[in-house]
Symmetry: C2
Subunit: 164 residues, 2 copies
């Protein structure tokens, strides 16, 4: 069976479509996975790794008030990160991650929580994923897997809509 | 012996300093390596992965004329990427990579060539590294190793200057 990265290539390269990523907790792993595939430069334009909140607001346009009230690990921030990077980099699709690979936060999110956002021409969807590995590196890997799966799933449904 | 990522943590965290990355050919691996270290969020603010030239010019402020005349894999672009991301993200230091993990380019650079830029309060330095592995993934790993080593080496010298 093909990996999510390879399925992404099949979906995007033959249709002249593109994708960008906005990563917080996955810290570049999502981008690394996508660019590990030969030929990815034809559909992968780039990423903003917004580890600090200042990068989420300053580069991606995330609302500072939402960060203050709901914290960085929530549905709204995941959605705004995905929409922001799609606009900044200028792609058909985008995917974002914002979560806790290690430790809990002051907003009641336990370690292992991640919110994933996927954005495209037909709208933005977000969902929550939870990993109970208890290990930073393992959580980061599972978050990246979940985000790639969410992205591929969104594009597969979107491509169906386009071809109908 | 400590890894370059761990040495980076020792150098930055105790001095309240920060770093950002601008990655082309390493595609997020540099960022992933840095953020694999627990506690990295205190000194690592983020990254711009500028896989496409449009991201190099639009987000990082690389001169389009230089890209046209010298191509993306050259000393000037590595320097401008490092300076650009340091400004966009607002950090003490930054490191950039622009190279060819697979295939040669029309500007005479062979596969395995990478230009690395490191920027900080005392200026910007660039250098060329060459990997002859012949494998995309291996070249990406070697590029990330070389970039992390260049960054740590720059900061070690810079820290010496600061403490004198």
């Amino acid at each position: 069976m093909k990996s999510a990265e390879e399925r992404l290539k099949d979906l995007l390269s033959k249709n002249g479509l593109s994708v960008a990523t906005a990563e917080s907790c996955t810290g570049g792993l999502l981008s690394h996975r996508i660019t590990s595939v030969s030929g990815s430069s034809t559909y992968y334009l780039g990423s903003v790794v917004s580890y600090a909140n200042s990068v989420k607001t300053g580069v991606l346009g995330v609302d500072a008030k939402v960060l203050e009230i709901e914290g960085p690990v929530c549905s709204k921030v995941a959605g705004m990160m995905a929409e922001g990077v799609r606009k900044v980099i200028g792609t058909t699709y985008s995917v974002s991650t914002t979560g806790l690979a290690e430790g809990s936060d002051e907003f009641g999110n336990p370690e292992g929580t991640v919110w994933i956002g996927v954005s495209g021409p037909h709208g933005t969807s977000t969902h929550r994923f939870y990993s109970d590995s208890g290990e930073r590196k393992k959580n980061i890997e599972r978050f990246a897997d979940a985000a790639l799966d969410a992205l591929v799933s969104y594009i597969e449904k979107d491509s169906t809509c386009i071809s109908e």
